[in-house]
Symmetry: C2
């Protein structure tokens, strides 16, 4: 192997990142060493900064560098809508779509009997508190269309149906999707939810 401990250790550490294996980690490290000024040093500095500054928003669970994230503090976003997502990655995906103008609540996972994840392991109690304290008009359940995701959606719906309007993302044919490649579940969901032209 390559002749020095630091570099080996760096490769092993990089290989632990999702989407990278030992081979791609080696490629990445060699690439960084070749582009030291452009890539290696700035990347090291950024990691140091983020390691210090990154934190969870105490209100919605988004990841940022402030105790309460920009979305929660922004006046513009206070329209009474809260979009409930499993994960920060889902929140970021919603933000990239740039169509939702309310606030978010990140559960940090889904209910799962198998993995013994109950409401307390998720941020469901905090969500209920928010519904009681902030003037929330609508909860949009944007959970993944998996069994666990839907179970969690139903649980939250049961908890909140009396107090607030509950909606969920529409299911159907993805834009650019070809029927031929879609699973039966999606097709039947799209047929059931068909709309008149």
């Amino acid at each position: 192997m390559n002749s020095t401990r630091d570099i080996d250790a760096l490769i092993d550490m990089m290989a632990k990142l999702p989407g990278l294996g030992p081979r791609s980690a080696r490629r990445a490290v060699l690439h960084m060493i070749r582009k030291r000024e452009l890539l290696l040093t700035p990347l090291a500095d950024l990691l140091q900064q983020v390691a210090v500054s990154a934190r969870e928003c105490m209100r919605c669970g988004n990841i940022g560098t402030t105790d309460v994230c920009d979305i929660c503090t922004s006046e513009k976003r206070g329209n009474g809508q809260i979009c409930v997502v499993e994960d920060v990655a889902d929140l970021w995906a919603m933000e990239r779509a740039a169509v939702f103008h309310g606030r978010y609540h990140v559960l940090g996972g889904t209910l799962s009997a198998l993995d013994q994840v109950g409401p307390e392991q998720l941020r469901i109690p905090q969500l209920i508190t928010r519904v009681d304290t902030e003037n929330v008009t609508e909860i949009i359940l944007a959970l993944n269309a998996t069994i666990d995701g839907q179970t969690t959606a139903h649980y939250i719906a049961d908890q909140l149906e009396q107090r607030v309007t509950l909606t969920s993302l529409a299911q159907g044919v993805p834009i650019g999707g070809e029927l031929d490649y879609l699973d039966d579940g999606t097709i039947s969901a799209a047929l059931t939810a068909r709309k008149s032209l």
Copy 2:
């Protein structure tokens, strides 16, 4: 997008690594932030160290943290054989195979008329110097089986044929390779170089 500059910048920087795109960079960054103690902080420290310590071996071109790499300094490796490779990654691959016990010479690329890469842009003069100064008995040309790789091999052979034994890696069917999936060139090379059982 996610609400903070540092994190965005980190994602953009990670996305520049080979094998990572914006999406996988986001996943990697979220993963690191979740595993701050285990991954983010140690990775930042390692990058800092490597950014300072990584350097090219002034003799063979390997990347390490010393001016002359462990392989070049190791007495055990001084058997008069020099394995010529295009790239540090190739050197590391040879070392993983752990069958070669000589030293290396990294060219840093291949001759290419198109990209205007001549012998001076590569480390070919240094190789010739090494042949004259170190007591080299054999040069093993382990260049990629590409047109540029083979052109470079031929050029080096022309330069050195009078002075030293020149060999190159055997070409043939890779271990575990299925004929059905092999290109014609490999099959014909393997047939030409067939050996009696």
